[in-house]
């Protein structure tokens, strides 16, 4: 009897938690009608926010791949002085409040800083621009790719790498032909999580790029801006789209993670 009571209690608590997760999403879906949704998506302001978000987040994924993969490879395969520090630095953006990250980037890249001034003199203006959005999103989301790719590299049998070397392959050839194919699922999963995080970024982005409609207003910034100005309809439409993106990316992530474990035999 005690066992049944325990199972019942656990199930009830789980049900409460499931409600906590699903009710807000349900509320979001019931806050608007289909017609209203179609109207909102044909609004130039909403469309602009969607395009800016997709454009910047996809560039961020590409940049995170180029810059993050070497870091993930180093952390997974090499022993070097300062590895712990690098590892902590990679994790830092995940635990750091996005607003703080945004403020730090603003101070570093703003016109009053040396770097910002130098870039301004070269004609590169990062603050209140799409480039600023990309840098802010890259800062907060790239750790997801690095951590996922690192895990994938670490799960590869060292002897397989050594086998490639003893067969005459260079380290680069081994990276290209053995490590990348074997780690691909982990890398894909990291790309998906990075994209989802970049798409949902608000704090750092708004701090660095502001919310200039048609220029730097991303989907999340548009939600906040529209709610503040009382335009709930467009906020709900964008929020629904973001929820669908998140759900889809999570599904892809989970399937890739399953694939990763299946490949490493």
């Amino acid at each position: 009897m005690k066992g049944i009571a325990f199972d019942l209690a656990v199930s009830l608590i789980a049900a409460v938690f499931v409600c906590l997760l699903t009710l807000p999403i349900f509320a979001l879906f019931t806050a608007t009608s289909f017609v209203e949704l179609v109207n909102q998506f044909s609004s130039p302001l909403v469309l602009s926010a969607i395009v800016i978000s997709l454009e910047t987040s996809l560039i961020v994924v590409f940049l995170a791949l180029c810059l993050g993969l070497p870091v993930a490879y180093l952390l997974a395969t090499k022993q070097f002085r300062g590895k712990e520090i690098l590892d902590t630095l990679v994790d830092l953006p995940i635990s750091m409040p996005p607003l703080v990250a945004g403020l730090a980037l603003l101070i570093l890249l703003g016109g009053n800083s040396k770097l910002g001034g130098l870039l301004n003199n070269c004609g590169i203006d990062l603050i209140f621009s799409k480039k600023g959005i990309i840098i802010a999103q890259l800062f907060v989301s790239s750790p997801f790719l690095i951590k996922s790719a690192r895990g994938a590299f670490e799960s590869i049998n060292n002897n397989v790498i050594d086998a490639s070397l003893t067969l005459g392959a260079s380290k680069f050839y081994t990276f290209k032909k053995v490590l990348l194919p074997l780690a691909k699922n982990g890398i894909y999963a990291g790309m998906v999580m990075t994209w989802a995080r970049a798409l949902g970024e608000f704090g750092a982005t708004s701090m660095v790029a502001g919310c200039i409609p048609y220029k730097t207003e991303t989907m999340t910034v548009a939600i906040y801006h529209n709610v503040m100005s009382g335009e709930l309809g467009s906020s709900v439409a964008i929020a629904l789209l973001l929820t669908i993106f998140s759900f889809t990316s999570l599904l892809i992530f989970k399937s890739r993670i399953r694939g990763q474990t299946a490949v490493i035999v």
Partner: protein, 376 residues
């Protein structure tokens, strides 16, 4: 190409894994590195391959000093204990990998890979992936993947330890015949004495990063030179003795093993290293021990010690018996068909004077008629 290791030392976290190791393997030789876990076998192999960089010493493959070369430049083939096949590539692509690295034409790759697949009877599995293969098939693929690039030396790290006995025997035969056909210098790491006897032209026994003995398998198993080697190959009867008299053909040695109730005198074949008063360890193979019933008359030419059978264990064609003899423990391996003793039965433990072999630590030298231990 032969292999020469000169004064190789390697430490891990301040602990010496290889200690000033010297080894010369001649061209075309099948050399077995034999020893227990932690003896330094795999480290030695990895140093030859360049997968581990030695702290001191030099590695030569043929006349090339490869000490500072990375693995991909050493022209070696390496077969790993866990096969280390590329899980994302088919059997064909696994075998072709090294040839593609060398940028050989696709048509030539196809012919050469096909030839090697045929050699080990794996043509039908060419499109399968590693997870679809049995252990024996994986090992065959790993072997031909290492051979197909025609390396100067072939290195194998306990390649059969994950296989069942039958497959192990088949693959050992295939390996030996391929190695002889190609005449490739081969270094094979194992802790299995059976594999060492079956495959090796010469065997090095490694213990704590040092070579205890290098010998042909027959010589190693008949005449171990150190207590460690004797125990490792199963010659567990070690008599710690002092030579007390030397006659024309024989010597009298007094056995002083700890636990002996009183010193025991035995007759031993005279070896040139014997000197009166010299302390020497003598090894007796369990197969050379003869057991006689307590009431039987023993041949006067044999040494005899009164003993009691502690336990007996079937081991294939032999029965292995543990015998308490005057306070020390001796081991006998008697053919099953003639073993007729019970546990706790009193027996005579007998052995001929030429059976105990001195563990002098030096190599035996061949003469025309016999192998003898020489002075110096």
């Amino acid at each position: 190409m032969g292999i020469l290791l000169e004064k190789i030392s390697k430490n891990y976290n301040g602990q010496a894994v290889l200690k000033n190791l010297n080894l010369e393997i001649v061209r075309g030789e099948f050399h077995v590195l034999l020893g227990p876990s932690g003896g330094g076998k795999t480290t030695t192999l990895s140093v030859i391959a360049g997968l581990i960089r030695q702290d001191r010493g030099s590695v030569f493959i043929g006349s090339r000093n490869v000490s500072r070369l990375s693995p991909e430049k050493r022209k070696i083939g390496f077969v790993f204990q866990d096969y280390a096949l590329f899980p994302h590539l088919s059997v064909f692509d696994n075998v072709a990998y090294g040839l593609r690295v060398k940028k050989i034409k696709a048509s030539k790759i196809s012919v050469r890979v096909g030839h090697y697949l045929h050699k080990v009877g794996m043509e039908k599995e060419r499109d399968k992936f590693p997870h679809e293969l049995s252990g024996g098939q994986k090992q065959r693929v790993a072997l031909i993947r290492a051979l197909v690039t025609e390396p100067e030396v072939l290195l194998l790290d306990e390649p059969m330890s994950n296989l069942d006995a039958l497959t192990r025997e088949t693959i050992a035969d295939e390996l030996k015949s391929i190695q002889q056909e190609m005449g490739m210098t081969t270094v094979y790491v194992t802790h299995n004495q059976g594999e060492a006897v079956l495959l090796g032209d010469r065997v090095s026994v490694l213990n704590h990063g040092e070579i205890e003995q290098i010998e042909s398998p027959d010589e190693l198993f008949c005449h171990p030179k150190t207590e460690f080697v004797a125990r490792f190959i199963g010659a567990k009867n070690i008599l710690k003795a002092r030579v007390i008299r030397i006659n024309q053909h024989e010597a009298i040695a007094q056995v002083n093993n700890s636990g002996l109730a009183k010193p025991l005198k035995i007759r031993v074949k005279k070896y040139p290293i014997f000197e009166k008063g010299k302390e020497i360890n003598l090894c007796i193979h369990p197969e050379k021990i003869i057991l006689k019933r307590e009431d039987k008359v023993v041949d006067g030419n044999l040494n005899q010690i009164r003993g009691k059978i502690l336990d007996r264990r079937n081991n294939g064609r032999f029965v292995k018996a543990r015998i308490a003899a005057g306070g020390m423990e001796l081991h006998a391996a008697i053919p099953k068909n003639i073993f007729d003793f019970e546990t706790n039965e009193n027996v005579w433990v007998c052995f001929a004077p030429d059976t105990p072999h001195p563990l002098c630590g030096k190599r035996c030298r061949a003469t025309e008629t016999e192998r003898r231990c020489l002075k110096g």
